[in-house]
Structure formats: structure tokens, C-alpha cells
């Protein structure tokens, strides 16, 4: 399939990438058919910020937490470009019951349920929802694929999978 990819300031391209696969029973694969440029997308599109931001961090003008969210080289391409979409569900895992194949769905950029797999991982005592745990600081990747079909998207936790995995690891360590 094709993936809309940010290359550098002023350059976005369609690139070929492997087809997504379901790897968990709580995942779904969706095919976006309406997508929007969110406001934050404009930041790297119209300015070369990587070196400027690193300089700002070195000079203590910018908060070093920026690199926890955006990586050591903020906005350095290439990366999958896209954040907002309406999509058609193409496949669902066996434990997904709220949406069915063929449904048209909104794909929120993040979940309001913080568990990757609530059935398998109990919330810590006193934690009803894990919004604070869904902080962008848990991973640098907040973009997902806007190609022919989306990467496998977890129905419970809509950040990209490597973020989910990292979150799951952190959760297990917490327990």
C-alpha cells in the first residue's frame, strides 16, 4: 500500500510500504477515505525546525521534554504523515465488538481508555481511566499512516503500535 510520508519542509510524498496485519485480537485495520491536515501538521511543513529546536534545547530556551515527545531530531523526516481521518473498517480482531467490517468510523488521535488490553491488564488501584498515562511523553510517535489502509490500529489505544507496546511494558512494570 501507499503511505503519505513527510520527507522534509515543503515535501510530502506517497511511498510504498507493507500492508498492515492484525497482530492482536483487539485491533482493527481501517481504510481512511476523508483526511484533514491538523494544525500541528503545519509546524514541519512550513519551517525547517530540527536544527533550530535542537539549538534551542542546548541553549535552555526550549524545554528538553520536547525531545521526549518529538525525538532527538524533532520533525526530522521521513515519517508517516497524517493525524485526522474518517475511515472504513476493513478487518477487526476477534475481541472487537463495538465496530464491524464496513462501518464508517472516526479515528480519534488518542484513546480515552488507557489500557491496551483491559481484559488482561487490570487498572492500578484508584485509576479509573488512564488519561494521564496517555501522555505524548510516553512515545515520540503521534502520527499514523494515511495510506491505502491504516496500520493496524488498536481499538482500545489508538496511538501507533510501538507506542502501545511501550505503554504496555511500562504498565506491567508498574504492576
Amino acid at each position: 500500500m501507499r503511505q503519505l510520508t513527510f520527507i522534509k519542509k515543503g515535501r510530502v510524498e506517497w511511498l510504498e510500504v507493507p500492508e498492515p496485519q492484525l497482530t492482536d485480537s483487539l485491533q482493527a485495520i481501517v481504510r481512511p477515505f476523508v483526511a484533514a491536515r491538523r494544525d500541528g501538521d503545519c509546524v514541519p511543513l512550513f519551517r525547517s525546525l530540527t536544527n533550530l529546536m535542537n539549538a534551542g534545547i542546548a541553549l535552555h530556551v526550549l524545554d528538553p521534554l520536547v525531545t521526549d515527545v518529538l525525538g532527538r531530531k524533532p520533525f526530522q523526516g521521513p515519517f508517516a504523515f497524517g493525524h485526522e481521518c474518517i475511515a472504513t473498517v476493513q478487518a477487526v480482531g476477534e475481541d472487537v465488538h463495538r465496530v464491524r467490517v464496513g462501518d464508517q468510523v472516526i479515528v480519534p488521535w488518542r484513546s480515552h481508555v488507557g489500557s491496551v488490553s483491559p481484559a488482561k491488564t487490570a487498572l492500578p488501584p484508584g485509576v479509573q481511566r488512564a488519561e494521564t498515562r496517555c501522555s505524548p511523553l510516553t512515545d515520540s510517535a503521534l502520527q499514523w499512516d494515511l495510506g491505502e489502509a491504516l496500520l493496524a490500529i488498536n481499538c482500545w489505544f489508538l496511538l501507533p503500535m510501538r507506542c502501545c507496546c511501550r505503554f504496555q511494558i511500562a504498565w506491567n512494570l508498574y504492576q
Binding site: V34, V61, P108
Partner: protein, 216 residues
């Protein structure tokens, strides 16, 4: 968690429902539910569409006064089409730093969509006592200054953080379905899917791309 699109809504009209529309909604809706009719100030800027969505929601929810401050003519015109009162300011943030109220403003609700410290300070200083300000931008600067004395004496609340769309979407979609709030007015360019690489590079408020939905 995925959310089915209601049959009553055109998908293209809610293209930004994943983030920016609910991001605007959450800055004003909870406060207007608590304070019906409360006046709202929005400082527009880098968060191009979010401030406009906030303005549209505030008007739809019955705010008595929605003032939208920005330096961009396109966004000011959109704010007017949404029913807000556009206030044009000069380019650069100096105006925001020099024109804030000295003691208290007249808004119970303010929003910084400029993603600048000057914008946050202006939005904070424009609040009436007991007011609440929400900042939606990327705030990357270390040690940004806040008017803490004014905030203290006016019992001001500042909320800064990322949006949580899934929990707001049901109420928001209901508001859009009522047609009192029309988010499509914020969209300034609709392009075909194939043209995404060119369309997304247009320096305009909101770009939407689309293609036929899948036949399954």
C-alpha cells in the same frame, strides 16, 4: 477507540473530528455548560483551526459575546461567518503584550490558540474574576512567564494540555447534527486523495482530502 460516524453527518464535514474539532470544543463547551451565556475570548494564531472551532462552538452554545482576535484575514473572515466578532491585530505578538487589561478583563472563558506565551498571557489577563483559560498550542519554551499575581487576585484557572477527543465526541457530534455549529465553514481547501502532497502544502487554514469510501 473507534467511533461510528452518525448517519446524519457527512464525513467530509467532520474530517477533523479526530483531533482539532473536539480540541476546540473542549476549550469552551464545559465552561458554557457551567456558565450559560458567558462571554468568550479566543486568541487565534498557530493553532489555525482549533481557535475557529472553539469560536463556532461558543456561538452555537449561546455565548453572549464571542470575540476572536487574530492577525490573519482569512481566519478572521471565517470567525465572522461562524457568528463571532472578529478583532484584527497587527502582525507579531507585541500587540498582545501591550494591550492586555491591567487588572481584569470581561471574559469568563478565554482560549489561547496562538501557541505563544504572549497569547496565553493575553488570554489570562483578559479574564474576569473566576474565569478559566485553556491553552491548546505547542508550548515548547522553557520557563514561560505567567501573570501569577493577577491570576491569584482574580482566582483564575489555567488549563493547558492535549485534547481527549473520544470522550467529547458524542456531545460534539450531537451539536454538529443540530446544525447550530457547522465545522465545514472552517475548511478552506478540499482536494482529491491523489493530490494530498500538493494540497497539504497550501498555506491555508484547513485542508481536507477525500476519495470514495471502500466498497466491502
Amino acid at each position: 477507540m473507534l467511533l461510528p460516524v452518525p448517519n446524519s453527518l457527512e464525513p467530509i464535514s467532520i474530517a477533523s473530528a479526530s483531533d482539532n474539532i473536539p480540541d476546540g470544543y473542549r476549550t469552551v463547551a464545559p465552561h458554557l455548560q457551567r456558565w450559560p451565556g458567558a462571554p468568550v475570548l479566543i486568541v487565534g494564531g498557530a493553532a489555525r483551526s482549533i481557535g475557529l472551532y472553539a469560536a463556532g462552538v461558543a456561538v452555537a452554545m449561546g455565548s453572549s459575546q464571542v470575540d476572536y482576535v487574530d492577525q490573519d484575514r482569512e481566519r478572521l473572515e471565517i470567525s465572522e461567518s461562524l457568528g463571532a466578532n472578529p478583532i484584527q491585530i497587527p502582525r507579531g505578538s507585541i500587540w498582545l503584550a501591550k494591550n492586555h487589561p491591567a487588572k481584569a478583563g470581561r471574559y469568563l472563558i478565554s482560549v489561547d490558540a496562538s501557541a505563544s506565551a504572549d497569547g496565553v498571557r493575553f488570554a489570562l489577563r483578559s479574564l474576569a474574576p473566576g474565569g478559566c483559560c485553556t491553552g491548546v498550542g505547542y508550548y515548547f519554551f522553557k520557563n514561560a512567564k505567567l501573570p501569577l499575581a493577577q491570576m491569584y487576585f482574580n482566582t483564575t484557572t489555567l488549563h493547558v494540555g492535549v485534547s481527549n477527543p473520544r470522550s467529547d465526541l458524542p456531545d460534539l457530534l450531537e451539536l454538529i447534527a443540530s446544525r447550530r455549529f457547522q465545522p465545514e465553514k472552517v475548511t478552506t481547501l478540499v482536494a482529491s486523495w491523489e493530490d494530498a502532497p500538493q494540497a497539504f502544502l497550501q498555506d491555508t487554514t484547513k485542508v481536507v482530502i477525500h476519495r470514495p469510501s471502500a466498497k466491502l
